[in-house]
């Protein structure tokens, strides 16, 4: 089974089903990411992706969105151990089926006259936007579902020279669903 497909794209999320999204509010202190990464490493928990940014207006807290592999360890263990980190303030666990997940992809693609049209098709299909252009290349961005980003990434594989970056996902519960704390 997959996460719920996004209706406007109709694509399937290829992340393994057992992934879980932990939205972790942490104190914005030196070393806090190392504490989280170190904990996952020493306990053998796998991370698919990790995104971090300041939360709220002040600089006091950050939000770390971690997509964890719940095959590598029971989710209860991962949450329990994470919660023991003193700098971790709150953890909400959003199950993939209740999650609205989004991710940002940007890519610069070298093009020539021959393949520019097909690139423009791909961009239009994916609902991506062009953010920079010059004579030889195009930079596009897509803010979409992880599945949508996967799809675009695959479509761009036919181009010889692509530089592509993804942020890792952030997530909120769907309206009417709640995260378990």
């Amino acid at each position: 089974m997959s996460a719920t497909p996004e209706p406007f794209l109709g694509v399937v999320d290829h992340t393994p089903v057992r992934h879980h999204i932990l939205s972790v509010l942490v104190e914005n202190k030196a070393g806090v990411l190392a504490r989280i990464a170190g904990l996952f490493a020493r306990r053998g928990f796998n991370i698919y992706s990790l995104a971090v940014a300041p939360a709220e207006s002040g600089a006091r807290f950050s939000r770390v969105t971690i997509v964890v592999d719940a095959e590598s360890a029971p989710l209860e263990q991962i949450v329990g151990q994470l919660d023991k980190l003193v700098n971790v303030v709150a953890i909400s666990d959003i199950s993939p089926k209740d999650a609205l997940e989004r991710e940002l992809l940007i890519a610069t693609i070298k093009t020539d006259v021959d393949n520019r049209t097909s690139l423009l098709d791909i961009i239009a299909n994916a609902g991506a936007a062009i953010v920079d252009v010059d004579a030889k290349s195009v930079t596009v961005m897509l803010a979409g579902t992880p599945g949508g980003c996967d799809e675009l990434e695959r479509a761009l594989e036919s181009f010889a020279e692509v530089e592509l970056h993804r942020t890792g996902r952030v997530a909120l519960p769907r309206l009417g669903k709640t995260a378990s704390a």
Binding site: E27, G31, A34, G38, L39, E76, G80, Q81, V86, V88
Partner: protein, 571 residues
């Protein structure tokens, strides 16, 4: 009031009621050693920073108060990593203060710089790098709060030299809010529903066992445990970390479970229908092969740390609580198992068949280590504190000493740190000077930290050390004998090198030796008369002695090996 950061640090320790700090100075911590001269706090100058850490642990285990150690940056800090790791494994409350190079030099590979907060991230409950002198009181108050509440553990405070040298306006946090720990919630409200489900399981149990772990001591729940056990008549086992939580002399006590546990304690767990874990963590040294551990039992798991639930063993009911509160709640609900007569009859039969035994001591040959321990015990005042190293001697001490009260067994459990014995005994004696403190040590362990006897002599800390000198890294030898076809690899130490008596004397201690039964009794008597300086006794013991019972690593507890003297007796 304006103070230097160093003065504020010492004053903060005074505010916390610290009476003693174990440590050794150096460049980065130098500023803090100056105001120490004018402080009421006693400082004990160790000979190696590992000693400071283990002393602080021994102090904490004997008194229930946090142990404090202070060392310099770089090698001073790395030398105390082993005790920090040890305290982390055993949930011992420690506050360790390390000097650090000046803030501006951090990250430049400055002289004696090391990233001690990075190094200890995985083996502390928490650590801090203090950024300004004004923050020192908060860091100290928070460190003590973290070390001593919830599941206790070691906390490290790293203080750069410029921070201790700069000025601050004295203040001290008066509320927990001021500690600024928004993510720290050490206690959860008792879950009434979980209690009700636990009570329901207890009420139908026919073969229950109370599996008592170190958390029972940490939550000072011995009185509640005694009351609960006596009311419900349930059998009790105490793990290596919980020795002393329930009196060994009590008829409901089956002793220690695990790899070298009592036959009856191990077997009662295997056959029980309800295992009530009280602050224990299903360590592999207790469970043996996990799928075979107490395979027919339901489990009630009481722990303050919810991450322990379902980590090793599925809990039918998990109660997040300190042990005392949970036991009181069980009592309040009058949780009572079924009639246990048949269960006790079975237990008594096991006890009768497989008591703890060892070979008869011979009058001419080498001493039996178990006999030495019993001989010391026979002449020891009640309340004597026992510390030990790690190895066979540790297992024999745990098996043959009779522990009657909390804080009398000072031992390295989760980490199994050789060399723990001598310094931890010193720390225990500092914390409880009115008690006699014996260290039951191995010859291998003694050689790892013996230099702290110089500290003990210099500081007037008269501990007694019994070296069970079997000339071997005995526990490793035992494994090589039993599991590696007697191929002994790098385990021989020699009984005579070093000369323990001369070494003791060189360190200002009394050195004694016993090679036969008569000498054994004589030296114990002599040692008991000495109360002003440390005493070291070199007991020459038989290296072929092995610790039994034994469950081989990874084997099922059903396959427990009893002492050879008991083999052939039908189970």
């Amino acid at each position: 009031m304006q103070l230097t950061g160093a003065q504020a640090l010492i004053k903060s320790l005074e505010q916390q009621g610290v009476e003693v700090v174990f440590g050794l100075p150096g460049g980065a911590i130098l500023p803090v050693y100056d105001p120490l001269i004018d402080s009421s706090i006693r400082h004990i100058l160790v000979r190696h920073e590992q000693g400071a850490g283990h002393m602080a642990e021994g102090y904490a285990l004997a008194t229930g108060r946090p142990g404090v150690a202070m060392v310099t940056s770089g090698p001073g800090a790395t030398n105390i990593v082993t005790p920090i790791g040890n305290a982390h494994m055993d949930s011992t409350p420690l506050v360790v203060i390390t000097g650090q190079v000046a803030s501006g030099s951090i990250g430049t590979d400055a002289f004696q710089e090391c990233d001690i907060t990075g190094i200890t991230m995985g083996i502390t409950k928490h650590n801090f790098l203090v950024k300004s002198a004004q923050e020192i009181p908060r860091a100290v108050a928070a460190a003590f709060h973290l070390a001593t509440t919830g599941r206790p553990g070691p906390v490290l405070i790293d203080v750069p030299k410029d921070v201790t040298q700069s000025m601050m306006d004295w203040w001290y946090p008066s509320t927990i809010e001021e500690y600024d720990l928004p993510g720290y919630r050490p206690e959860a409200p008792l879950d009434e529903n979980a209690i009700a489900r636990a009570v329901a399981l207890i009420d139908v149990a026919e073969r229950p066992v109370l599996y008592v772990g170190g958390g029972t001591l940490k939550s000072r729940a011995s009185a509640e445990l005694l009351a609960f056990a006596e009311r419900t008549k349930m059998p009790v086992v105490t793990t290596l970390m919980a020795r002393g939580a329930f009196p060994d002399s009590h008829e409901q006590h089956l002793g220690m479970p695990g790899m070298h546990g009592m036959y009856t304690a191990v077997t009662a767990i295997q056959k029980c229908d309800l295992l009530i874990s009280l602050g224990a963590r299903f360590d592999d040294r207790v469970t043996g092969k996990i799928p075979a551990f107490a395979a027919g039992a339901k489990v009630i798991h009481v722990d303050i740390d919810k991450a322990e639930f379902n980590k090793v063993r599925h809990a039918d009911v998990a109660v997040q609580s300190n042990v005392a509160a949970a036991l009181l709640a069980f009592d309040a609900a009058s949780a009572t198992p079924r009639n246990l007569d048949a269960w006790w009859k079975q237990i008594r039969a096991w006890q009768e068949r497989y008591p703890l035994v060892y070979e008869e001591p011979s009058t001419d040959g080498l001493l039996r280590p178990q006999h030495v321990i019993q001989a010391i015990a026979a002449k020891a005042e009640p309340g004597t504190i026992i510390a030990s190293g790690v190895g066979q001697h540790q297992m024999w001490a745990s098996q043959f000493w009779k522990f009657e009260e909390p804080g009398t067994w000072i031992n390295s459990g989760g980490a199994g740190t050789m060399g723990f014995g001598v310094p931890s005994a010193i720390g225990a004696k500092v914390g409880r000077p009115e008690r006699t403190v014996w260290c039951i040590d191995g010859d291998g362990c003694f050689q790892m930290t013996a230099q702290e006897l110089v500290t003990a002599r210099a500081e007037g800390i008269p501990i007694k050390v019994a070296i069970l000198n079997n000339a071997y890294l005995g526990m490793v030898r035992q494994w090589q004998e039993m599991f590696y076809e007697e191929r002994y690899s790098e385990v021989y130490l020699s009984a005579d090198l070093p000369d323990y008596v001369k070494w003791a004397e060189a360190m200002g201690c009394v050195g004694l030796r016993a090679t036969n039964l008569k000498e054994m009794h004589d030296v114990i008597e002599e040692a008991n008369k000495i109360n002003d300086v440390p005493v070291v006794i070199d007991f020459r013991t038989d290296s072929s002695e092995k610790v039994f019972p034994m469950v081989a690593a990874g084997a099922s507890n059903d396959d427990i090996m009893v002492h050879p003297l008991q083999r052939g007796v039908a189970k």
